[in-house]
Amino acid sequence: MTAIPLSWWVSVATALFVIGLYATLTRKNAIAVLIGLELMLNSANINFVAFNRYTTPNQVGGQIFAVFVIAIAAAEAAVALAIIIATYRRSATVDVEDIDSMKF
């Protein structure tokens, strides 16, 4: 058994999730919001892999889910940054409070 208790991993993942949530909620720049999203996805990955290692050490279900999360995060980052670049070119801003032309 490893010397690190499972609760340490859960605590670190929770802290990282909350930091990402704070960055997502408070930042005005769309790219900074995206950085916060990446932090939250990473904290989910810590949980997937840690619970995989501690509850079913001889299976790899959690690691497979983490690989899927990483792939989806890559796709999401590519599309989001393309949208940000297109928005910047169209309206010359990356401030999420100014991008409100679809607001009802």
């Binding site: 802290a15 909350v18 949530l21 990955n45 050490p57 899927f68 670049i85 010359a92 990356v94």
Partner: protein, 170 residues
């Protein structure tokens, strides 16, 4: 004991990077702190006996996503200079809600007695991963490849300059 010291070092990398992201006003530094956090995550994966994920983390996150974010920051740099405020009006509310959520999740999660298995991992996780990807998880695996292709094409179409007035960038 040695594992705990390594864990603390990577925790300093991960959480220090996170704190740096939310505390710095310069977006460029935020992206550099993000790559620091992602590197620490790769160390976590090594500690958790997931060497393949550590390699994927370095290649995909640090090598691709962080660099992509840096490119996007440089392409839209002039709009958000670090002199103007980088946070919106929800800052105080978020500063109250986020620690409360942290405490709530932690209290809930630490109460649960997780069925921790004391068995040491046997065999090569990489072989197991490969067998699973082409075995019981083959359909999600193929769907994810289609998703990546769609994201690739979509990103190119979205970011392509349809007008010819690129002179505004200069």
């Amino acid at each position: 004991m040695a594992e705990q010291i390594v864990f603390f070092i990577f925790t300093i990398l991960v959480l220090g990077g996170g704190i740096g992201i939310i505390s710095t006003k310069n977006l460029y530094y935020s992206a550099l702190f993000l790559s620091m956090t992602l590197s620490g995550m790769a160390g976590y994966f090594v500690l958790l006996n997931a060497g393949f994920l550590a390699a994927v983390q370095v290649v995909v996150y640090v090598g691709a996503i962080a660099i992509l974010i840096l490119f996007a920051i440089m392409l839209s740099r002039r709009m958000m200079t670090s002199s103007e405020p980088q946070t919106n009006r929800q800052t105080w509310l978020a500063a109250i809600v986020s620690p409360l959520l942290f405490i709530a999740i932690l209290v809930l999660v630490l109460q649960v007695n997780w069925p921790v298995s004391s068995a040491a991992p046997t065999g090569d996780a990489l072989i197991l991963l490969g067998m699973s990807f082409l075995g019981s998880y083959v359909i999600p695996f193929e769907v994810i490849s289609v998703l990546l292709l769609v994201a690739l094409v979509g990103a190119i179409i979205l970011a392509r300059d349809t007008h010819t007035d690129t002179g505004r960038e200069q």
